[in-house]
């Protein structure tokens, strides 16, 4: 079947999709967006978390066909999504002309070279930068899902308590960090968010 949907602001169509394919598979293997991770494919670990019409979901549990006509944001689009949060973003309509992401920008995500100087690169969302700065990234496999979940938390609650953070991220497993630095990162992003308001 053919699936038409919007990924990170860019209209996409996927052909020859088998009815049983998950949104995760289509994103990773057909769209060339492997940022959403395949750690359990059972909805238990949260590594594949994306936003579907603004709502965080485990993309491994969403049949690709369910995404028909809908807006998906993956970790690859998180920086841009976060930049346009105040104007508009997928799922809440597009009020300004600069919402979404151009084709050129979409291509850039997939081929951007690394400068090897983490922490100094621009174009990261506050939560992405905070994860780097707080040392919340080790192997990094859980990171994309945690970022999407944490970004949504901060969108809903700009000064979450530790209990709020734990509750919001309880669906995302991390095996490396012991979570302490992930808490640090969310606190850091929240604090920086407050500073800029």
């Amino acid at each position: 079947m053919r699936v038409n949907f919007t990924v990170n602001g860019r209209p996409q169509e996927a052909d020859d999709v088998w009815e049983g394919e998950s949104l995760l598979y289509v994103l990773r293997e057909r769209m060339g967006l492997p940022g959403s991770k395949n750690a359990c494919e059972q909805g238990e670990c949260g590594s594949c978390t994306v936003r579907l019409d603004g709502v965080p979901v485990c993309s491994c549990l969403v049949a690709a066909g369910q995404a028909e006509g809908r807006e998906v944001v993956t970790v690859e689009g998180l920086a841009d999504y976060s930049k346009h949060r105040d104007g508009a973003h997928p799922g809440t309509g597009c009020a300004s002309s600069d919402c979404g992401t151009s084709l050129d920008a979409a291509k850039r995500w997939q081929s951007k070279p690394t400068d090897g100087r983490t922490g100094e690169a621009g174009d990261l969302s506050p939560i992405q930068q905070a994860f780097i700065d707080a040392g919340a990234v080790q192997c990094g496999f859980c990171t994309p899902g945690l970022l999407v979940a944490a970004d949504e938390l901060l969108e809903q609650n700009d000064s979450p308590s530790d209990a709020d953070i734990r509750e919001a991220l309880s669906g995302n497993l991390c095996r490396c960090t012991g979570y302490e630095k992930i808490l640090d990162a969310v606190r850091l992003a929240a604090a920086r968010q407050e500073e800029t308001v």
């Binding site: 394919e21 991770k37 750690a39 590594s47 690394t114 983490t118 780097i132 309880s170 497993l173 095996r175």
Partner: protein
Amino acid sequence: MGVTGSPTNIKQGSKTKGGIGESTLRPDGTLKVTGEFAYSSDMWHEDMLWGFTLRSTTAHAEIRSIDISEALATSGVYSVLTYDDLPTEMKNYGLEIQDTPVLAHGKVRHHGEPVALVAADHPETARRAAAKIKIDYVELPVITDEASAIAPDALLVHEGRDDHHIGHVPHPNIVHRQPIIRGDADEAAKRAAVIVTGDYVFGMQDQAFLGPESGLAVPSEDGGVDLYVATQWLHSDLRQIAPVLGLPEDKVRMTLSGVGGAFGGREDLSMQIHACLLALRTGKPVKIVYNRFESFFGHVHRHPAKLHYEHGATKDGKLTHMKCRIVLDGGAYASASPAVVGNASSLAVGPYVIEDVDIEALALYTNNPPCGAMRGFGAVQACFAYEAQMDKLAAKLDMDPVEFRQLNAMTQGTKLPTGQVCDSPAPVAELLRLVKSRPLPPEQQWLSAGEDADVRALPGGLSNTTHGEGVVRGVGYAVGLKNVGFSEGFDDYSTARVRMEVINGEPVATVHTAMAEVGQGGVTVHAQIVRTELGVNQVTIHPADTQVGSAGSTSASRQTYMTGGAVKNTAEAVREKVLEIGRAKLGTYHPAWATAELLLEGGKVVTDGGEVLADLVDVLEDEAVDLELEWRHRPTVAFDLVTGQGDGHVQYSFAAHRAVVEVDTELGLVKVIELAVAQDVGKALNPLSVVGQIQGGTTQGLGVAVMEEIIVDPKTAKVRNPSFTDYLIPTILDTPTIPVDVLELADEHAPYGLRGIGEAPTLSSTPAVLSAIRNATGLELNRTPIRPEHITAT
């Protein structure tokens, strides 16, 4: 730009930023937070096929026949392989003993053993085709424990064993056995005022790394294969892969792709050979990605163990003797079992001074899932038991459990049961003091004035199972002893290539090693080391591959010591070359070139007094200095097979924990409130990463204390819970605050004085939590993980 060494032009050199001791950020951080970092499961190739492994549905059976015809006829299927298709006489692999079949032949020995392979154009096609393969099994009795393994009529898991351990074991169903005998434990027991014994059970833990086993094999025009894979040791894989494929090692080119955690579970091969076989057979790139279910069968687990301990102490609280027997279940194949046995026995006494010991550790062959390396490697199981014993002794002597441990703590100069003298700092008593001296977290944190209880802070959390009634608090302590690096005479070396040149007017260094970055942060510290030694800001880390010499394994807490040491050593040699070039070119400009101790700092050559002699750019011009060197730590020896004596270990590391728990005694639910840890790291090359490792290791210890266990049916030896639904690892709600104290007492034998850090925190975390639960409930609790029914006795 001219030479800066003329007497009128002397200025202070600037320090290089981002050297050792700083919390430099990860070079792969940006890629990892943007989703661009290429993990092994993200590999993609045009015209790529998907591989799938058919695994045995039974634990022990003869294979009468395998019929692949229907699978092969499935549309979209390119190849189906069984044992008969293996190209050479070499059909097994293994880390120490080559007893693991690439594909089962004649027999399967554990549930989930690979039997056949399929390559197809879609992963679902491959899965469905594999389901059409018909295997005729004849079930055999299963060997599941020590009694069934050494029973008079027991089948041999491996008939006709001929490995070098077989001469030293009392039964062929024992992989390896290591006694350690010193003094006379029975005689010493007569001096004991109190003797305590205990039988302990340690459950089968899984590494549960998040990134599934996966990789991409691409056939090459020369008949070889390029393999992109997540592993812990590229060269060890290569050594096992090439003979099975019938290829010389230089035709199997391996490149490390992104590794989503490892913790020992990637020491053994998983899909490597399978993907290569399918790629070579089909002539197309083949990708294999395990799902979580398969991952539980695709790697070895931590050895479950049964431990019997006896300790004695005088009425003053001095340990008199220790006897123990540790039986590890190695499962169907040897993996790292012999080395795990060596660790379990040699570290069985823990960080305590005991003259008279009688220790025996062994690993069994059974039809349970194969067990091998996992963080802590044999020392974890022992620590769980000896720390329970320490609490028992202290209670019997009516002593404070921390003071009792401190009274018996080993120190620098202590002779361990193997006869090896610990010749570096051993701050065991101090680490215990540090965790004990922390203020305790406030009681009943779920209550805040005038409000309802915040159930999220209670055992059971949002399940809303209690509002505080029946909840009691407990505090427990533990400390552990772990070796660093590969032991027992293993030629444990690492190789590093360091290149220095001028690019775009800047001095730049490149580091090329085969070290597997599995998340531990090795790539960060390599850059820090090179900045420190070569005084350049720009350091590029070359991808890890087999085009450079072996770096050894990313395990045993050894990589910062070993490959870090190799990078340091090679960088020092590069520095000497650079200075030689400088002397030849510019030596006449300043006498200090010949007389002073010279350093590279901030892109310049400086004297140890800080005088700048030259810019590196002017020294190097368009020359490049490029060296590849091997580096070794001081040698170790194998333990004597009868007495266990020998200087078997490279270095020791130490961590202590204090656990604070709250237990709902009605439902048996445990909430760990705080897990404070103190560890000596010798020298923190990157403090941020050090703390991250310690917190991560602590959490894995917490997991096995209260929830993590692979459950194997004792009747059928089948795995009951191969999923993240049923095998539970701690979430952020299960994990408490983990305050960390770091000591930096340099080990003079190690690079920069550092001590391996990754494993020690996993040891003492588990017994500290258990101790706290016992303290809260008054129950004996001699197994891990603790389940509600153990607390409620239902």
